[in-house]
């Protein structure tokens, strides 16, 4: 029913979707997976008319829809949900769904204005249709609640109901299970099966591999905009290219020469509350996180996270997309406040301090996506790292030190930050952090979007920094690379810490693979 041929989408120089062919049969449930930034959502946007393809062709039920508008395609029978819930917040659930149910109704301006009996009847029919959908999905009880007042999981369901109310032939679900708890996920699987059984073809993007592998008959894997694999769930799981695209390709490989005793700190406590933080002598920990819970709106992203780090440690925090890695770092660095729990830094409670005050304590966070100031020169970027310092001489020395670490930056010191390549930007971001004289450095996905060679180069520098005594908490999706440089590793899965151990051991642990690819 859906035939996509040679579909390509470019944003400037970036190829988000690269020459994809895809055929979806009527009545199928198709899974679409791939690591972050692989072009899944862009692909959805192209099919549903929210983006215009650069080249290629999309055929839906025999007609060419490549140039269709989003609302036009909705009327033709393509419905979708969004990665970030996008309900009409000020409306009730019923209104949300009714708005969708009127998809095929004419506006009937004059009749509506006068409230003629025929339009009233028609409106009632629309409302009934919406109500039927709510009943089908099983949330009719919430019909009169404000959409924004519902718990997160239900909001996801409302969004699916809203899409269903347009009576689609093809339903595109973009990460419907994100932020759901296990029971909700189970219900979701049931729901998607029932929707499919009622004759709707479904394409589903999902990071929860267990869920999508259990649901879809065929799975298509995207990486960097290209289709790298397509087949049954089991085939996909075993495909080396898929594993590589998820877990990363290798690593620096020098790690083994270091003779650190990577013993567990014993601080990891999956069950929640940490019983005896004082037992090991709190002072020796530079960072201790105590049953931290963070939310995005109604979504609980971090679930009772507790761990500790000693001064001078190099710890890697790995986990699949959406596991809550970035949220954890943002919570520690003060960019968001936790709902409950404590963050102790050198024994001091820094929970809820604003980020600029945490920076003043030399706890430095290098954000995901690097956060280079694009219109500032390289040197200005670096100087911003030293914004809170006033020791001019030392700043100068540090600047030279950073240039020593990254000679490339020195050559480009007057170039704009935005004109650097991805790898250089990452170096700049790390260099900028070094300018703040960090005691504890939080690094968020330094390998993202970099070529393998550059990943090695960046990680090598990070290792050097560690060798000079810096405490580092590295967050990586590229588990193999991260574990190859770190001493110790934590595995985060859907908001909880599930494994802990010496990096070398984790590297070969099948449980780690499971955390990424399910199974």
């Amino acid at each position: 029913m859906l035939r996509v041929q040679n579909l390509t989408k470019r944003f400037g120089g970036l190829v988000a979707v690269d020459n994809i062919d895809l055929h979806v049969r009527e009545g199928e449930i198709r899974g679409l997976i791939g690591p972050n930034g692989s072009g899944k959502t862009t692909f959805f946007n192209l099919i549903s008319g929210f983006d215009r393809a650069t080249s290629g062709k999309i055929e839906f039920m025999g007609s060419d829809i490549t140039a269709g508008s989003a609302h036009g395609l909705a009327r033709k029978g393509i419905a979708r949900t969004f990665q970030h819930i996008d309900l009409f917040k000020g409306m009730t659930v019923l209104e949300n769904v009714t708005a969708a149910a009127q998809c095929h109704a004419r506006p009937r301006f004059w009749s509506s204005l006068l409230g003629t009996p025929s339009v009233r009847k028609e409106d009632q029919a629309l409302r009934n249709l919406a109500m039927e959908q709510l009943e089908f999905v099983g949330i009719a009880d919430h019909a009169d609640d404000l959409a924004s007042s519902l718990p997160y999981g239900l909001q996801r369901i409302v969004e699916i109901t809203r899409a269903l109310a347009t009576r689609p032939a093809l339903l595109l679900l973009d990460e419907p299970a994100a932020g759901m708890n296990p029971t909700e996920k189970q219900d979701l699987v049931e729901l998607v099966r029932r929707i499919n059984a009622s004759g709707v073809t479904v394409i589903i993007i999902e990071h929860d591999m267990r869920l999508v592998m259990g649901l879809a008959e065929t799975i298509t894997v995207l990486d960097s905009g290209s289709k790298i694999c397509e087949g049954l769930p089991a085939e996909v799981q075993g495909n080396p290219r898929v594993i590589e695209s998820y877990l990363g390709s290798g690593g620096v490989g020098k790690k083994q020469t270091h003779a650190y005793a990577a013993e567990p700190s014993g601080a990891l406590d999956v069950s929640g509350a940490s019983q005896n933080p004082a037992a090991k002598g709190q002072d020796s920990f530079i960072l201790s996180v105590d049953s931290l819970n963070s939310y995005y709106g109604n979504v609980r992203v971090l679930k009772d996270i507790s761990f500790k780090m000693r001064e001078g440690e190099f710890t890697a925090l790995i986990g699949a997309n959406g596991a809550g890695k970035t949220t954890l770092l943002r919570t520690i660095s003060g960019m968001m406040s936790p709902r409950s729990g404590r963050v102790l830094y050198k024994g001091e409670d820094i929970t809820g301090l604003s980020s600029d005050r945490i920076v003043a304590r030399n706890l430095i966070y290098v954000p995901e996506g690097r956060g280079v100031f694009p219109a500032l020169s390289v040197q200005e970027n670096l100087m911003m790292g030293a914004f809170r310092r006033s020791d001019k001489e030392a700043i100068k020395e540090d600047l030279e030190y950073v240039f020593g670490l990254f000679p490339r930056l020195k050559d480009r010191r007057n170039q704009k930050g935005g004109s650097l390549s991805g790898g250089e930007q990452q170096m700049l971001a790390i260099g900028r952090a070094v300018m703040s004289r960090p005691r504890l450095l939080l690094l968020d996905e330094p390998s993202m979007g970099l070529a393998p060679k550059l990943v090695d180069e960046v990680l090598e520098t990070v290792m050097n920094l560690h060798d000079e005594g810096l405490t580092i908490l590295l967050v990586e999706q590229n588990a193999r690379a991260a574990l190859s440089v770190a001493e110790r590793g934590f595995v985060l899965e859907v908001g909880s810490l599930v494994h802990e151990g010496p990096a070398a051991q984790l590297c070969d642990d099948p449980a780690v693979k499971a955390a990424y690819l399910g199974g």
Partner: protein, 293 residues
């Protein structure tokens, strides 16, 4: 004649530039619009005039000091507007910020009427009135003075933004507020600073134009909308764009009024605005596909 039109267009245009700079600075830094900018412009002119002529027990100050007093007053007003009208409404939406700013513009105007009366006052000219004659072209020394000071102010602004730590921090916050926070740059600091610097520019523009115009409580309303058009023309949020937009608007207005009809001078300014927004919303020097307004 065209040359004469261009020269006088550049003089008024350099003042448009200062106001446009104020608009663009605030937009790029704080993602807000100060719809009371014109009244900041007016208030600075009145304060400077009062300082210049002395009031009550306060002695009359020399011109330079009076300018300083006026500019400082403008920056304080900017600070109040930011903290009362912008920061409190930032989460409620643009509509509320708009309403609060408009309230401020009325408040400042009617306060000025209460304090200084509505008849307006003459700002003593600092520069000779006798026009210079170059060939068939007349140049008012005052216009040269305005252009000179505007240019100086822009150069100072450039150095402040590019060479000082605070200025660089302001630019950094304009590009990425979150990451700037991670560098230890507090939003409230840079936002307040941005409003103060922008208000300084608007205030300076007011004081510069005061001897050319007449200082009245209503003098700000026209200049603010012209400043907007100039900022949009150059690219809303772009600093060099604001300068170019202001000069270009001044010249365009003057030429079209001189060659077509002066009656439609304002309509032309509006038309430029509509055409730019529709066909080149990023303006002449703005970044295409940049942040949305």
């Amino acid at each position: 004649m065209i040359i004469q039109l261009i020269i006088s267009g550049l003089a008024i245009g350099s003042v448009y530039s200062l106001v446009a700079l104020a608009h663009s600075l605030i937009w790029s830094g704080v993602r807000a619009v100060n719809f009371a900018q014109g009244e900041v412009f007016m208030a600075a002119a009145f304060v400077a005039l009062t300082a210049l002529s002395g009031a009550g027990r306060l002695p009359a100050l020399p011109f330079g000091a009076a300018v300083l007093v006026g500019v400082v007053a403008a920056s304080l007003i900017g600070l109040v507007i930011y903290n009362v009208a912008i920061r409190t409404t930032s989460k409620k939406g643009f509509l509320y910020a708009l309403g609060a700013c408009i309230g401020f513009s009325t408040l400042l105007q009617s306060s000025a009427i209460l304090i200084w009366g509505s008849t307006g006052e003459q700002f003593p000219a600092q520069i000779s009135m006798v026009p210079l004659r170059v060939g068939s072209i007349f140049i008012a020394p005052q216009d040269l003075f305005i252009m000179g000071i505007s240019l100086t102010a822009m150069i100072i602004l450039y150095f402040f933004l590019s060479k000082t730590r605070l200025g660089t921090a302001m630019r950094a916050a304009a590009q990425n507020r979150e990451v700037a926070g991670l560098m230890g740059i507090s939003h409230r600091l840079t936002d307040s600073l941005t409003f103060m610097v922008a208000s300084c520019l608007a205030g300076l523009a007011g004081i510069l134009l005061a001897p050319k115009f007449f200082v009245t409580p209503q003098m700000g309303s026209m200049i603010s909308s012209k400043g907007f058009t100039a900022a949009v023309l150059g690219g809303f949020g772009s600093i060099p764009g604001a300068v170019l937009g202001g000069l270009l608007l001044g010249v365009l207005e003057n030429i079209s009024a001189g060659l077509i009809s002066s009656s439609y001078k304002d309509a032309i300014s509006f038309l430029i605005m509509v055409l730019i927004i529709m066909f080149k919303p990023e303006g002449l020097l703005g970044v295409k596909g940049g942040r949305k307004a």
